[in-house]
Homo-oligomer: 139 residues x 2
């Protein structure tokens, strides 16, 4: 893991200033939300450790850490469904990234455009109470 | 925790059919990405266990599990910055939710509209190679 206090620059390590902002889980990971830059569609959620983030920031392509396979995977290397990086943001408490991309083809391994297309859960739609005493229109 | 095989309906538990779709981490949590329904802005990422999801699906308001405080928090109860639920989706592998909301005021505790406003990381922008041999315009 990167030591944010290390004074020796290391081109193979994540910038210590960035590494110092991350609040990793016990596996050294932060969540990475991937969003299509122009439509705003949330495409998928993956996971990154310091090295996956370093590669993502430096390569113009998105690399994740696969929790199930315990290995790095650069999106699109096998599927062709590349994610071209547009911007990367870190949230206020350092445990989530927002990666803006241009997605080639389907983001989901099922062939769906996004990983959220297939399962809509039954939810009560919320709304503020309507104004209980609206001003009547001027007559 | 909910037992998806439990045959007795329990109104205080998450629907077993939904619970059976979740792939929780070792703390019983899934990531919850919250998105403004009309602009597409990703507002924040929180965490939900079965009970937080049950409340979110049933109340029209978003409830998270706070990992730092180890308690439920319904967004807006103290700040007034309510998240009205529009739709809830589960991703293909069951470890992330996408909650579409109408956000009242700031989503971030810092006062920013989103938790991703403040920290843009330096990233190389990626792009496919330009067509190496474009067809010349007809003359």
């Amino acid at each position: 893991m990167t030591d944010a206090s290390d004074p020796i620059p290391d081109p193979t390590a994540l910038d210590p200033q960035i590494a110092g902002l991350l609040k990793r889980d016990e596996h050294g990971l932060v969540a990475a939300v991937v969003q299509q830059h122009d439509t705003g569609d949330v495409l998928m959620v993956g996971w990154m450790d310091d090295e996956a983030l370093r590669r993502t920031l430096g390569e113009g392509r998105v690399t994740f850490w696969s929790r199930s396979r315990q290995e790095y995977w650069r999106k699109g290397d096998t599927s062709g469904h590349v994610q071209w990086v547009k911007a990367v943001r870190l949230d206020c408490d350092g445990d989530a990234l927002l990666v803006s991309v241009d997605q080639v083809g389907a983001a989901c391994h099922t062939g769906d455009r996004t990983c959220f297309d297939a399962r809509v859960l039954p939810a009560t739609v919320g709304a503020p109470d309507p104004d209980p005493d609206p001003t009547p229109p001027a007559s």
